[in-house]
Symmetry: C2
DNA sequence: CGTTAGGTTGAGCAATATCAAATTCGGTGG
DNA sequence: CCACCGAATTTGATATTGCTCAACCTAACG
């Protein structure tokens, strides 16, 4: 299941260079960050707490996490799912306090990247990295807006369809999806907190999708069988961040 | 109803300086922007279209607008309400395309501010304005996160209570709320698109709030009568953006 | 005054939540 | 390999919330 036996430290450089072309120097900077000692976290580890200060931004190297908010009576809403290559506690602004909690949803490995926030804002030596971070942030905002649409105006089935398509889109951009199939370490309970539904209702809708032959979901692996059906049910559209990029790199289909 | 007969051009300078201390020079820059020719727009004018290029960022001088997204069958979700002093089409990133539509919800006056995005990013001559824009953006993100929580996990009554409290909080920061009472130019139909409910259901919940003596709403004016009841029903908390600010300027009560 | 957009009301229905009881799955120790 | 345990999933029954439709009312405005 794992690629080779030696870590290549290429996750960040690859992801960033797909967002924006990088110089060799910039690739080196990212490889160096990724070569650092990894921090391991078990599932359910709290990485950031809402309202607390953010010490050091970091990147997820493997595993899934999420940003969330809670209400007094225990209701929880997941704000975004964080995947390998995503940053934790990084912002182009210099605000010290975390606006959400962040918790590991699976075993997680991260690397600290204290210099990256500064690099982003100063744009001096690493303009390519800054531009890539801009695009990543724009994508995050795009997905957040889609999330608001989902929660406010879509039915359970539509929400879940849209959410699955979005996940697959993001994973395939990181080579973590194999023709629509990917490892999905979340429980249905977690999914329900992401899409704003009850667990039972999530379960029933997932089963309907199975019966209709649109997905396969078992043993921590989710496969999209009927991409077009899910796309149109959820009205999923990939982020269109620049007129140019849109023409150059449509999501037409993920390879391999 | 209007303050004096001469425009003071102080809206932007006042709002920004409450976010972050400004130099005299910076106040001058903002007054100059605000002194420019205003653009007038009727209600329902589309100011930005999702996916289209953003020409020039601008500020709302008077009136209300919103950012929104739509689904194919006409369902609409409002992403945020834009109030006087808020920017339209402004981002610390340099992304050219608007991620949402923006439409006027009332008659609107705006001024263009083409230099402000550059000023924000370069942070050279106007560090105070940059810092104020950072804080405004952090506040926007905070409200967006609260919006996700509302839509995903709160009941109709809670959503509306929270939404009203948030509006009043934002308006009072702009001196547009008089002890919890303010002009509210939105139809219930628009409110329903903001809180993700049907018009009828919004109407019923508003009436319940009236019966319970918590709000007064008529003739385009909304008054909060029982602030504490609404606050606790919606679990509203004002944005806490820095440990310092939190201690210095709690929302304890809005004056006048 | 007449018109019209917006607000209000009632009735019935559809979507989703809640509760409680199986059942299956993934380990883990024997 | 087997038995067992807890967590996750599934199922059924029922309650609740919120939606839709259609009618009616009211206020603002020319």
């Amino acid at each position: 299941m794992r690629a080779a036996f030696a870590p290549t430290n290429d996750l960040l450089a690859t992801r960033f260079s797909r967002l924006n072309p990088l110089s060799d120097h910039e690739r080196g900077v990212l490889r160096l960050i990724e070569a650092r000692a990894k921090q391991g976290h078990r599932a359910d580890t709290h990485l950031l707490t809402e309202g607390r200060e953010i010490r050091t931004p970091s990147f997820i190297i493997s595993g899934w996490a999420c940003r969330f908010r809670e209400l007094a009576n225990g209701r929880r809403q997941i704000v975004s799912i964080l995947l390998p290559g995503d940053a934790i506690g990084l912002s182009c602004r210099a605000h010290a306090l975390s606006l959400t909690g962040v918790v590991a949803l699976s075993p997680l490995r991260t690397v600290d990247a204290p210099e990256i926030a500064v690099a982003w804002r100063e744009r001096l030596r690493t303009p390519g990295i800054s531009a890539a971070l801009d695009l990543a942030a724009a994508e995050d905002e795009f997905f957040m807006l889609a999330h608001v649409m989902r929660l406010g105006r879509q039915t359970a089935y539509e929400r879940i369809a849209h959410w699955i398509m979005e996940l697959e889109y993001r994973l395939s951009a990181r080579d973590l999806s194999n023709n629509g199939a990917f490892l999905m370490p979340l429980t249905q309970d977690t999914i329900s907190d992401a899409v704003g539904l009850s667990v039972v209702h999530v379960n029933r809708n997932l089963q309907q999708m199975r019966r209709e032959g649109r997905i396969e979901l078992a043993h921590g692996r989710l496969a999209i069988l009927d991409r077009e059906a899910l796309r149109s049910a959820g009205e999923f559209a990939p982020p269109l961040l620049s007129a140019f990029q849109g023409a150059a790199a449509p999501m037409a289909e993920s390879r391999q």
